[in-house]
């Protein structure tokens, strides 16, 4: 079975999801990420979904869980590039992904994570106080 590649950039991990994932693939991505955070002692995880024209509750849950696990492992997760139609649909579904920071693109996402290290004020996630 194919696996989604995870890139390491310094102490950040970057995942670019470009395929329509079936559930098993999503679960294996979650496992892989968790494993890599530990192995690479990553401080940040960037999940790029700008190529996804669909995010359903399963994938939403996977992203939420990944962020939660990352936090436990002392890493921040930023979800970047959600398309407008996907965002509108997720909101209609009732999924707001609390606890997941978001940014418009990878560059912004990295800046967001970078800011965190410099002890900048938390900006994107009102629920995380």
């Amino acid at each position: 079975m194919e696996r989604i590649p995870i890139l390491r950039i310094g102490d950040l991990l970057l995942v670019t999801i470009q395929v329509d994932m079936h559930d098993r693939l999503a679960m294996s991505l979650q496992d892989d990420l968790t494993e890599r955070i530990v192995r690479d002692e990553a401080k940040g995880v960037l999940i790029d979904i700008s190529a996804l024209d669909l995010v359903d509750s399963f994938i939403g849950r996977m992203i939420s869980n990944t962020a939660s696990m990352a936090r436990v492992l002392d890493a921040q997760t930023v979800l970047v590039g959600m398309q407008p139609a996907v965002a509108i649909t997720l909101v209609e579904l009732g999924l707001t992904l609390p606890g997941v920071k978001t940014a418009l693109n990878v560059e912004r996402g990295m800046a967001l994570l970078g800011k965190q290290y410099l002890a900048g004020p938390a900006r994107r996630d009102p629920q995380a106080r």
């Binding site: 329509d20 024209d53 669909l54 359903d56 509750s57 209609e92 579904l93 999924l95």
Partner: protein
């Protein structure tokens, strides 16, 4: 036109499986594995584009299909999905029917409330999926099976 009676895979019979007036381009897909959900998403996306649904409406329909297909797979023990184009003479629409021979839903009203879940997740996805479509019907009998039929019309 394919045979619309309780098809080979699913025995549970329901009024909802009777073809509506104006139904055409009927395709029945099996839902017994993960990859079937992916295939269904692609097909539904194509059909949504065929009737020129807006991007947002396309996304809503395909997402609803994904949610309901997953239900059929995870809670219904597998089943099938019918993808149908509707033409009622005034407008075009896409109808999706999900059928399984699973345990059925004991309390549909409860299942349709937000946040209800039996699987430890975000709920059966029924209430969410319902908000994404224009028409939503469910026919279920405990111990026999479930049929969920939804329609999205081109506005």
């Amino acid at each position: 036109m394919s045979d619309m009676s309780p098809a080979a895979g699913v025995r549970f019979s329901s009024q909802l499986l009777t073809p509506r007036a104006g139904a055409r381009r009927v395709l029945v897909l099996p839902l017994t594995g993960d990859e079937h959900v992916v295939a269904l998403r692609r097909l539904v996306r194509e059909r949504a584009i065929d009737i020129k649904l807006s991007l947002v409406d396309q996304t809503k329909l395909v997402t609803a299909a994904s949610e309901l297909a997953r239900n059929t797979l995870k809670y219904g023990g597998g089943g099938e999905a019918h993808v149908i184009e509707l033409d009622d003479g005034v407008r075009l629409g896409v109808q999706l029917i999900f059928a399984d021979d699973g345990p059925g839903i004991a309390d549909t009203a409860l299942a349709l409330t937000d946040g209800y879940t039996t699987g430890g997740g975000l709920g059966l996805g029924l209430s969410g999926a319902r908000r994404l479509v224009d028409e939503f019907d469910i026919d279920t009998r405990v111990g026999e099976g479930t049929v969920v039929a939804v329609v999205k019309w081109k506005r």
